[in-house]
């Protein structure tokens, strides 16, 4: 890629990431939420990877980091589900106080769930992307 693309990608990707985080945190108030926010964060990394080349990106952010991000997200989600069982006796019970509507801190555990889902989706999609882009063809095929 040319220098212009590289520089612009490097400038823009933090902004994209901030937008993704905003979307995750405000998921219960405005359009958005964990899924699109997570995918937006992943796409910021994808932009970096595509602009600065496979090798550079691979040195900066390994698949294992993305995989850890994903596992943490999944664990947040599962732990919230299990905490519902512990505090209220039902799986996935929204056990936190609901708060005042239309504020950032409202909706019980929904913002926390959004964070979990966001991490999970972001990490997961970026991990898939990395495995696909790092795949190299072998020299000769085994077919005919």
């Amino acid at each position: 890629m040319t220098l212009i693309v590289k520089v612009i990608a490097r400038v823009v990707s933090p902004l994209i990431m901030v937008f993704g985080i905003y979307m995750i945190l405000h998921g219960h108030l405005s359009p958005g939420g964990g899924f699109p926010g997570g995918v937006i964060i992943a796409s910021a990394f994808v932009l970096l990877t595509l602009s600065s080349g496979k090798e550079v990106a691979y040195q900066k952010l390994k698949e294992s980091t993305a995989a850890v991000m994903e596992s943490v997200g999944a664990l947040i989600f599962l732990i919230l589900a299990v905490l519902g069982t512990i505090f209220g006796g039902w799986f996935f019970l929204n056990f936190l106080p609901k708060g005042e509507p239309l504020r950032l801190l409202s909706g019980g555990f929904i913002p926390l769930c959004n964070i979990g889902v966001g991490l999970k989706v972001g990490g997961g999609i970026f991990a898939v992307f990395l495995t696909l882009i790092l795949f190299r063809l072998s020299e000769k095929g085994e077919g005919d």
């Binding site: 939420g33 899924f35 239309l102 898939v128 495995t131 696909l132 077919g143």
Partner: protein, 111 residues
């Protein structure tokens, strides 16, 4: 009639899956089918003259479209991209082994 157009999109995808000989074209056919189903679900939930199902300050009891299909479609979209990723991984791996995307040349299994 709108519903039927949506179904026509579905049939185009099905046709692509059944006819085409290229692995990637088959994948695209499946993607088209998924699009049509997502469109159908949202159409089912649309209510004429209603607004998006987000409560804003001041407007307490507004006329909302059906929020349930929207929640389903978000899930369906993410399932779609997960399937796509695995399918593309399989395609690349098949290409790695056979050096072709042509299913008429990839015929090791009989029957």
């Amino acid at each position: 009639m709108l519903f039927f157009l949506c179904f026509a999109l579905f049939l185009i995808g099905l046709y692509c899956v059944l006819i085409k000989k290229n692995l990637l074209k088959i994948v695209m056919g499946i993607i088209i089918m998924e699009y049509s189903v997502n469109l159908f679900l949202i159409m089912v939930g649309y209510k004429a003259g209603a607004v998006a199902p987000i409560v804003t300050a001041g407007v307490e009891k507004a006329n909302f479209v059906d929020p349930l299909p929207q929640a389903l479609v978000i899930t369906a979209i993410v399932i779609g991209i997960a399937t796509l990723a695995l399918m593309v991984a399989l395609c690349m791996r098949v290409y790695d082994r056979y050096k072709t995307f042509d299913i008429t040349k990839i015929r090791r299994l009989r029957g």
